[in-house]
């Protein structure tokens, strides 16, 4: 495979690697679908696929935010706690103010998430705490806040207005409304990462923070921005979570961060930062949700899912690292060849020789 890449420009080699990654995901997804279709008779039904779409939707909304953080060579472990807290606060508000527009409740959820994400960003950038430790602490702190806010109470489905529950139940054009939300977020996230200057900055920071700083990119502000967006999208995810699982209490969405991070990592976002696409992440989320749904249909224990998530992260990271290393070797060889060719064409002048 590497040999075929000779003669290509570096950018083309990188693009080829990305395509390989996405083709690999599609193949894995196809294999999973075939496997489950044979083993579980009700796998290939419209109802089941709509269920998968609902699961994918919430993962994708949060994973787009997580992608931005991981691109900058950081990580946010606190997303599940933000989802849980904002789910409760927005659902509680809707339950006590049944007349409110859904948009207002969504804004409240996003607002809560934005503040919490901003705090994460400040801890990482201003207090210079490594992201994994900072967000491990805020994972516990935000969950603790959830217990303070709920004070043992829970919001139940019957307290919530039907139009809110319809977000998960209704299916315009055959796709659940939740999935349309996810679709919009994925398109917007993709556009931001592709075309805006600050979106490109995320890649630059993740590839080489030092070089990014020298290139005049406000690295600290961009990392805070990435965490804030991740928080805001987790808030939106919380709002959607409450409509999908309308009995919300203090432990809502516990361990959900594993689903999100698995989707991001197997979706091809490099944990060293600097590369990855939203398209890949969406594929990753679909693969995770499909396999988990298949496990449920096969009545496999909940815990095999956990094992799968963890193993998938390790395998994806290993493959990524190996491919990246071979790619770098190929690029280095190529650069050496180019230099050698140039050298041969124009021999060094006598005074340049040692």
């Amino acid at each position: 495979m590497i040999a075929e890449l000779r003669g290509l420009k570096p950018q083309q080699i990188a693009a080829a690697a990305f395509r390989l990654r996405e083709i690999g995901l599609v193949i894995a997804l196809g294999a999973a679908v075939v496997f489950f279709a044979i083993r579980a008779p009700n796998f290939l039904t419209v109802g089941n696929w709509q269920d998968i779409a609902r699961d994918v939707a919430i993962v994708v909304v949060v994973a787009v935010g997580e992608t931005m953080v991981v691109l900058t060579r950081n990580i946010d472990l606190s997303v599940a706690s933000i989802v849980g807290l904002s789910a409760y606060i927005s659902a509680d508000y809707l339950a006590s103010h049944p007349g409110t527009a859904l948009g207002v409740a969504a804004l409240i959820a996003v607002g809560v998430g934005t503040v919490l994400g901003f705090v994460n960003g400040l801890l990482v950038v201003v207090a210079r705490i490594p992201a994994i430790i900072a967000t491990l602490a805020t994972l516990a702190i935000y969950r603790g806040l959830s217990f303070q806010v709920t004070a043992g109470d829970q919001v139940s489905a019957f307290q919530l207005p039907d139009r809110f529950l319809d977000l998960a139940a209704s299916k315009p054009l055959g796709l659940p409304t939740l999935a349309w939300f996810a679709f919009a977020v994925a398109i917007a996230g993709s556009a931001v990462l592709r075309w805006t200057r600050w979106g490109r900055d995320f890649y630059a920071i993740g590839s080489n923070p030092e070089a990014a700083r020298f290139a005049g990119i406000p690295v600290g502000r961009r990392i805070i921005l990435a965490f804030t967006i991740c928080g805001a999208l987790s808030g939106l995810g919380g709002f959607l979570w409450a409509s999908r699982f309308p009995n919300v209490d203090a432990v809502a969405a516990t361990d959900f961060e594993l689903d999100v991070i698995t989707a991001v990592v197997i979706g091809g976002v490099n944990v060293f930062g600097g590369s990855g696409t939203i398209f890949g992440v969406v594929l990753g989320a679909v693969l995770v949700a499909t396999i988990q749904d298949g496990f449920t249909l096969l009545r496999l224990s909940e815990f095999w899912k956990m094992f799968f998530n963890g193993a998938a992260i390790v395998v994806a990271v290993t493959i990524d690292a190996l491919v990246t290393r071979r790619l770098q070797d190929a690029l280095r060889r190529r650069r050496a060849e180019v230099l050698a060719a140039r050298h041969a064409a124009a021999p060094p002048r006598p005074e340049a020789a040692p």
Binding site: I133, A140, F147, L258, E302, F303, M306
Partner: protein, 353 residues
């Protein structure tokens, strides 16, 4: 003289002792039973497994890596042990097997990080979930609660009906691991690798091998922590120690171990563990719920790293002391520098090959 005193006062360990005493006085105002000898001796027992996990993690963090899978390794270790015992295997054989499983899982982490050079953060985040799932699968979600008394007494028994065995185990582990960290060549290698891996490698430190070893140590300590855990709680379940990761990481970082690697002391981690135990115990006396306690411990963790960063920034002069109203007095000794000097001395000594 004043300078020596000042340095002593400003040492991290001194601050920890002051905080422990403060926490003790606060606890004493909450309950008259706090300052009884029995309570003081028993205070630390529920945190012994956390301490043992933290001691193992200390090695990993000083070497510049992280291992967040330790609680899951503990879980796999105790359920493997329980499952073997349930199938009639001799208790000490099963114990040895449990430790072996723990070390093997640590080795998995170590090979992925040390040999394949993968980021320890992503690897152990993956194995955190994978091992946890594995623990549930091994015991199929049930719990085992029947163990021979002699086994339980390691983690839950008393000698002379007063001194908890677990406390003895904790102090012994701290002593042995402290020696390994501070008085052996292996320990100095850790500080060197944590300060600058490239430089350590170039000066002949077997960096890969050492990095694999620290993860095995961390896994093995999780296995030993499992013995203390089962002894204290009297049950082996797949969700054992789940949710204790925050306390483990806090004990390590609050103990003054540099989260970026290269510095830290076993004494500091031991003191930080006592501080966490005193605080949690005090909050329980004050009737504060477990999840609210987590807020306090989480803030403490963040504050400890922020304070450490501030201290280092002052040391290397990127924040001027004059601005903070303190005059700078010489260069404060750092463990990393010490290790680097020790390294260079050692590399100059000729070795027989």
């Amino acid at each position: 003289m004043t300078r020596v005193l000042l340095r002593l006062v400003l040492r991290w360990e001194t601050l920890l002792i002051v905080a422990i005493v403060g926490g003790g006085i606060w606890s004493a105002t909450l309950s008259e039973f706090f300052f009884t000898r029995i309570n003081l001796l028993d205070l630390a027992t529920p945190y012994v497994f956390i301490g043992l996990l933290a001691f193992g993690l200390t090695f990993v963090v000083i070497a510049g890596e992280i291992d967040i899978s330790v609680t899951s390794i503990l879980a796999v270790s105790v359920v493997s042990f329980a499952q073997l015992l349930d199938h009639g295997v001799n208790v000490w054989l099963a114990t040895a097997a449990g430790l072996g499983v723990a070390a093997a899982l640590g080795l998995v982490n170590g090979l992925l990080v040390g040999v394949l050079n993968l980021p320890s953060l992503a690897v152990t985040l993956g194995t955190l979930a994978a091992f946890q799932g594995l623990a549930f699968v091994i015991l199929s979600g049930e719990g085992v609660a029947e163990f021979p008394q002699r086994y339980l007494s390691i983690g839950g028994g008393y000698s002379k009906q007063e001194l908890p065995h677990a406390l003895v185990l904790l102090v012994a582990a701290a002593f042995v691991l402290g020696l390994l960290l501070h008085a052996t060549r292996f320990g100095r290698y850790l500080f060197a690798i944590g300060s600058n891996r490239e430089a350590a490698h170039l000066s002949g430190v077997p960096a890969s091998r050492v990095r694999v070893t620290v993860f095995v140590i961390s896994g093995l300590m999780a296995g030993i922590a499992g013995i203390a855990y089962v002894g204290f709680f009297g049950s082996a379940r797949a969700d054992a120690a789940q949710g204790s990761l925050l306390d483990v990481v806090t004990a390590v970082v609050l103990g003054g171990v540099n989260i970026f690697g290269g510095a830290g002391t076993m004494v500091g981690v031991f003191l930080a563990l006592i501080l966490v135990a005193v605080l949690r115990n005090g909050m329980q006396l004050a009737n504060v719920g477990g999840d609210t306690q987590n807020i306090v411990i989480g803030v403490l963790l963040l504050a400890a790293i922020a304070a450490g960063n501030l201290g280092r920034a002052i040391q290397d002069g990127s924040i001027s002391l004059a601005r903070l109203g303190i005059r700078r007095r010489g260069v404060i000794r750092s463990d990393a520098k010490e290790a680097a000097i020790a390294m260079s001395v050692e590399s100059q000594t000729p070795k027989g090959r």
